[in-house]
């Protein structure tokens, strides 16, 4: 077709108001998946400080691994990000269960409600975790 006009994708985020529940679930699932992959790498970076720690290396007379953890946990930003990480992981797990049900052909009529349910559960669990994660910070 030489005489045609390509409008490009309409899924650009300018149209986010028109997205349906299933589309949001798909976007959130991808997004949380990427965050979890990114977290795994930073997690490995922190854990790797335990290797010299096992040989007895210390900073300020504290084991280097313990020191790293204590320093990180003393930052408010890290505590807040931990709540966020929990929320991301919980949503990914719950939506993963939802997708498993979809793959098994169970409750496809309720797919939008199960997405909303996983959002609500995620919010509840994240809020409930705040006192634990922010203990001693506020």
């Amino acid at each position: 077709m030489s005489h045609s006009y390509d409008r490009g994708l309409v899924e650009d985020f300018g149209r986010w108001r028109e997205f349906t529940a299933g589309m949001w679930a798909w976007i959130f699932h991808k997004f949380t998946g990427w965050i979890l992959v990114g977290y795994l790498f930073t997690h490995i970076a922190v854990l790797s400080t335990a290797i010299p720690g096992a040989a007895g290396e210390t900073v300020n007379d504290v084991n280097v691994y313990t020191y790293t953890i204590q320093e990180l946990e003393s930052l408010l930003l890290v505590r807040v990000m931990e709540v966020g990480l929990l929320a991301v992981a919980v949503f990914h797990i719950l939506n993963g269960i939802r997708l498993l049900m979809v793959d098994l052909g169970i409750g496809l009529d309720a797919q939008d409600r199960s997405f909303y349910l996983s959002l609500v559960l995620t919010a509840v669990i994240a809020v409930a975790s705040v006192p634990t994660f922010l203990e001693g910070m506020l």
């Binding site: 005489h3 028109e18 349906t20 299933g22 979809v102 793959d103 098994l104």
Partner: protein, 289 residues
């Protein structure tokens, strides 16, 4: 609307050299009709009866001032039970005869008027204006090239549909020329919803996997394949059909966004059918004995 307004002017400038009484009468009639249309159009926009504002996508590579896509406003007088298609027909007949869109049966059977209305793929003839928020935004189907105004190039969609061999092809025919190929009631119920497809292309247009992967069969074609794969009268061809579907760009590209199921004007549970075919494909290949 500028393309239409110019027409009467050019007609008046070029009267036929030798004017017969018939020509004069016809010209006179033309002028009267044009005046009537004009009056009707003005009446529709000026009177304070209830109107619906339609914003319609316009594009025509062959007309100079339509080469740049734009939206035209049409104020259509509202009637009870008016559909988007009714409003478009009114706009075309009253305001701008160059407004182009496909339609035929007007009762959700022919599948030619699937449009992108207020951000969702719908059949224009099946969508009540009263169900929509004003202004009603009418665009051609996304992910297909626009030929003119609301008309898109459906060729790729038809290629996808034909790729799954959408016809009955059992070799296992009953004896005797006039013998029927019987199907059980249960099996009929199983494929019932999938037979409703009218090839309108709304689902494939809504699928953003199909948008990014031109080789992906798309929900409509997979649903068509489901209709034959699950038909017990064609049991001997089931493996052949699954071989088409289980390819990399077959059923496995579906990521269960439910966009297709959401927009299907015939309420076909497309995602359910795709998921069932995925399970069939696994069952065919995964054997522990």
């Amino acid at each position: 609307m500028s393309t239409q307004e110019q027409e009467p002017a050019t007609q008046e400038q070029e009267p036929p050299e030798t004017e017969s009484p018939g020509d004069r009468r016809r010209a006179e009639k033309q002028r009267r009709l044009a005046a009537d249309r004009q009056a009707e159009a003005e009446a529709a926009t000026t009177t304070d009866e209830e109107t619906v504002l339609l914003k319609v996508f316009r594009y025509d590579p062959e007309v100079e001032d339509k080469q740049e896509p734009r939206f035209d406003d049409f104020h259509v007088p509202y009637e009870d039970g008016m559909t988007v298609l009714d409003a478009l027909i009114y706009a075309r007949d009253t305001f701008d005869s160059s407004l182009t869109f496909r339609h035929s049966c007007r009762q959700a059977i022919c599948g030619s008027d699937a449009l992108f209305v207020n951000g969702s793929q719908r059949l224009a003839c099946k969508t009540q204006l009263s169900d929509l928020d004003a202004p009603v935004r009418v665009e051609p189907l996304p992910h297909q090239d626009v030929v003119k105004d609301l008309v898109v190039d459906m060729e790729h969609f038809y290629d996808q549909m034909h790729a799954v061999e959408p016809y009955f092809q059992s070799d296992d025919l009953p004896e005797g020329d006039l013998e029927e190929q019987r199907q059980s009631r249960e099996n009929r119920e199983k494929v019932k919803m999938s037979t409703r497809c009218i090839w309108c292309g709304a689902c494939t247009s809504s699928c953003n996997i199909a948008a990014g992967d031109n080789q992906y069969l798309g929900p409509a074609a997979i649903n068509k394949a489901y209709r034959f794969t699950m038909d017990e009268r064609e049991a001997d061809k089931k493996e052949h059909r699954l071989r088409i579907l289980e390819q990399e760009h077959g059923v496995w590209r579906c990521q269960t966004q439910f966009s297709c199921t959401e927009v299907c004007p015939k309420d076909i549970p497309l995602t359910e059918h795709i998921q069932e075919l995925k399970r069939e494909a696994v069952k065919k290949n995964l054997k522990f004995w």
